[in-house]
């Protein structure tokens, strides 16, 4: 009798759990008319921006989400290999490459029906250069406008308007630059057009308002607009019927928020609770290949050993020591055996084959050569201390295994003082900003073909304010090559300049190159015409999300 009672109780508990969930609206609606609902973990992974999923000009990442709500002047192509028109259908530069005129499409409207004009571009620029405007990350704003005449004065509050940004006519806007930039259009792919006229908050508080996620206030210039938002849970987007490429086919585009935890997102994907997520290579195995399309692509993020010459012993300034370390580590074996070929070794800073010359040294594994170089430099391997601090973003099983194998490789040439530790974000940034707190960093840096700062690891300021690493780039021939890169008027000349810069980088070896990881996204096969690419920071890249649909 008691046994029967126990069985009944347990059955009731389980049955309640399974059936008492109620009927969600989705199901009710399905019964009436099938809806096209796409649910994705779009804000997770390296290209996502977590909870700040809906605020442009506030983070260097999350652009695949932002493109759903706001239209930039230009955009990356589908594979992020070039810049293509978007809100601006064409552009032209003056002969001195200092004045750029962008011609906007004439069929664009905000989600409230108001026509999008050149004045909206100017208003956006004025808004994000307001002296009180203080985003957490100004990289996108600065990439677009920091070279514009009057930028410093406007952001400092000494002038009230950027007269260098001029509305020529309803659909033409002219932008004047401080210095010539033949590739200024490539600085505009994160220049989203915002409905400044609809803002109901002070410029100083873009992150403190709920305007961006409030369905009754938010106005969109992209394919979708905000339909609903549940903090910590999801952002629901609904079609912008005025979108210039056509009304989206999806009825709802739901960005489920996972608080930055990729594990939870991947498990939800495997369970079918979301239809797309960024996926780590070692998580791919849990996905049923029959149900998912995998989207691989180069991360454009170089992983390298960052060297702080301010703190390292002087012998590190001898290029032979750095070359010896490179020869001592079998990067190809690490990539093959640990990363299972989901990464590739690269020879120099700009890790794009189009910028590789035949003369590059790939530092293939050669421990004897390593020993010989150290002997020539007069360094006893036993005296070399390698103390690595690793960025939080690289704290994963694969990189941990890779660092362990590096330790073994280096011990084969007699370098035995090897240690490493992973830091959390705040510790990492704190140590990196305070000179003297680190010697060797294990980190990554996004070097997409467009948008990356050529000064990074190639100038004494390093694009980071001050002599950050103590390497004398200025007297090693880098400034001339950077000038060539920034002033290249055509793609061909741009690639040639980057090739020359790569050659110099490869020869001087100011940092130690490791590999570029392939990144993966996975989407259920039921999502038709879906496109995803692991562009740095999420792009934005052309993904035609207005064409996506769900096949039942």
């Amino acid at each position: 009798m008691k046994k029967i009672a126990l069985v009944i109780i347990l059955t009731v508990v389980f049955a309640t759990a399974i059936f008492a969930r109620g009927v969600p609206e989705e199901t009710k609606t399905d019964a009436q008319a099938p809806q096209q609902i796409f649910i994705a973990a779009y804000s997770e992974g390296p290209g996502g921006n977590g909870a700040q999923v809906a605020i442009p000009f506030s983070s260097a990442a999350g652009h695949s989400s932002l493109l759903k709500m706001y239209s930039p002047l230009t955009v990356l192509s589908k594979d992020a290999s070039e810049i293509v028109p978007y809100a601006a259908e064409s552009w032209e530069a003056s002969a001195d490459m200092k004045t750029w005129t962008f011609t906007l499409r004439q069929d664009m409207r905000f989600s409230d029906g108001k026509k999008i004009t050149a004045q909206d571009v100017k208003d956006t620029a004025e808004y994000i250069t307001h002296p009180e405007y203080r985003p957490e990350n100004a990289a996108d704003r600065n990439a677009w406008l920091s070279n514009v005449v009057g930028f410093k004065e406007k952001t400092a509050g000494t002038i009230s308007e950027l007269t260098s940004i001029r509305v020529v006519d309803e659909f033409k806007i002219e932008i004047s630059l401080e210095v010539p930039n033949p590739r200024f259009f490539a600085n505009c792919y994160r220049a989203y057009i915002l409905p400044v006229y609809a803002f109901n908050f002070d410029p100083g508080n873009p992150l403190m308002t709920d305007w961006w996620v409030n369905s009754t206030l938010q106005v969109s210039s992209g394919p979708y607009k905000v339909g609903d938002f549940r903090k910590d849970e999801y952002l629901e987007l609904i079609p912008n019927e005025y979108f210039f490429l056509g009304k989206p086919k999806l009825d709802k585009f739901i960005i489920k928020l996972f608080g930055g935890d990729i594990t939870a997102a991947v498990l939800a994907l495997a369970a079918g609770d979301v239809m797309f997520s960024y996926v780590n290579y070692d998580d791919l195995s849990i996905l049923d290949k029959n149900n998912f399309n995998i989207f691989p692509g180069s991360s454009d993020v170089i992983v390298f050993f960052d060297l702080n010459y301010n703190n390292l012993p002087d012998y590190w300034k001898d290029v032979r020591v750095r070359q010896a370390i490179m020869y001592a580590i079998d990067r190809k074996a690490i990539v093959k055996n640990i990363f299972k070929d989901s990464a590739v070794v690269y020879p120099a800073l700009w890790a794009h084959p189009i910028t590789y010359s035949d003369s590059l040294n790939w530092f293939d594994y050669n421990p004897e050569k390593a020993k010989q170089l150290l002997a020539e430099a007069g360094i006893n391997p036993a005296d070399i201390v390698i103390d690595i601090q690793s960025h939080a973003g690289y704290n994963n099983t694969l990189n941990n295994a890779a660092l362990q194998s590096m330790q073994q490789y280096l011990s084969r040439i007699g370098i035995t003082k090897f240690s490493y530790r992973f830091l959390d974000v705040a510790s990492w940034r704190s140590l990196y900003k305070k000179n003297g707190a680190w010697t060797i960093g294990f980190r990554g840096w996004g070097v997409p073909m467009y948008g990356a700062d050529p000064n990074f690891q190639a100038s004494n300021s390093g694009g980071q304010g001050g002599d950050f690493r103590g390497y004398d780039f200025d007297n090693n021939g880098f400034p001339e090559l950077i000038k060539k890169v920034t002033s290249a008027p055509t793609n061909q000349e741009y690639f040639k300049a980057l090739t020359d810069l790569n050659d110099l980088h490869n020869e001087k070896l100011p940092v130690l190159y490791m590999w570029v990881e392939t990144r993966f996204g996975a989407a259920l096969k039921t999502v038709k015409d879906f496109h995803w690419f692991p562009a740095a920071g999420g792009g934005p890249y052309l993904d035609d999300s207005h064409l996506w649909s769900i096949v039942r």
């Binding site: 909870a51 957490e136 849970e233 629901e236 935890d261 939800a268 940034r429």
Partner: protein, 320 residues
Amino acid sequence: MGTYILRRILINIPVLLIITVFIFALVEIAPGDMADFFINDEVLQYLSEADIVEMRESLGLNDSPPVRYFKWLGRIVKGDLGFSYVEKEAVNQLIFRRLINTSYLMIFAFLFSIIVGIPTGIFISLRQYSIADFSITGLSFIAISMPSFVAGILGIYFFAIKFPIFPSGGMYSVMGGRTIGDLFFHLFLPGVTLGLMHMARNIRYTRVSMLDVLKQDYIVTARAKGLDKRTTIYRHALRNALIPIVTIVGVVFTQLIVGAVYMETIYNWPGLGRLYYNAINARDYPVIMGANLIISILVLTVNLLVDVLYSIIDPRIRYK
């Protein structure tokens, strides 16, 4: 008893202060602060030293640590836990909302561990050395040894992926009706996996305690004077066997909070544990301190309640 409770409450006040000082010092020792979290590499190049000082000022980071602590304490007295610049929300409101969510998880896990654990412990104690005893004891050892996050991932793998009975995470269905049923449906898997270890421990404790009590003379006497087996077990044996179980309730509460940090991350449950974890990463002082304060108050309160409950269950115990 009233005096005892009052005295315990008064003792808890300095204990609470010591805890907050300790946590504040720990966070202070860790490298980096909230400004480091906000001022990343990309922003740094466009900020002057004055901008950084201004940002630190607005975040209240320019004061010395003792001044900041006492300012925080001053606000606490007024019932203000501060403002989270990371979450962009008042900490009171933030913690309250997240605590409610976590409490669902903890209460479910706690009840599950009691409702399943204690009867199962009684069941096998009455069948010592049977197949059921060996099987359940063996499984209990596995469950006790298994960390919450492993149980959580296995739970999702088997019951959300391989046999998709339950959702893989979240608190409600996206676009769902946000009904109690929907909440319960989402709560079941994280709740069970969070409570699994504690359920297993309850089984073990109850079994051992019952076996111990069942051998006592007063149980033999009770049976000898003619009481039926059922009354003997449930009225005399069980009540005494439960005493050690009650003592571990306070510990269970603390462990449930710790377990919730993992569970909420794995199951994407928007609770206090996940908030706390993210706050530590971001050096979000107001949230770290606020969450610690609330958790400490809860733990101290539960410990006090356990002591009171202890005296109710065992009349021999009297507090002075």
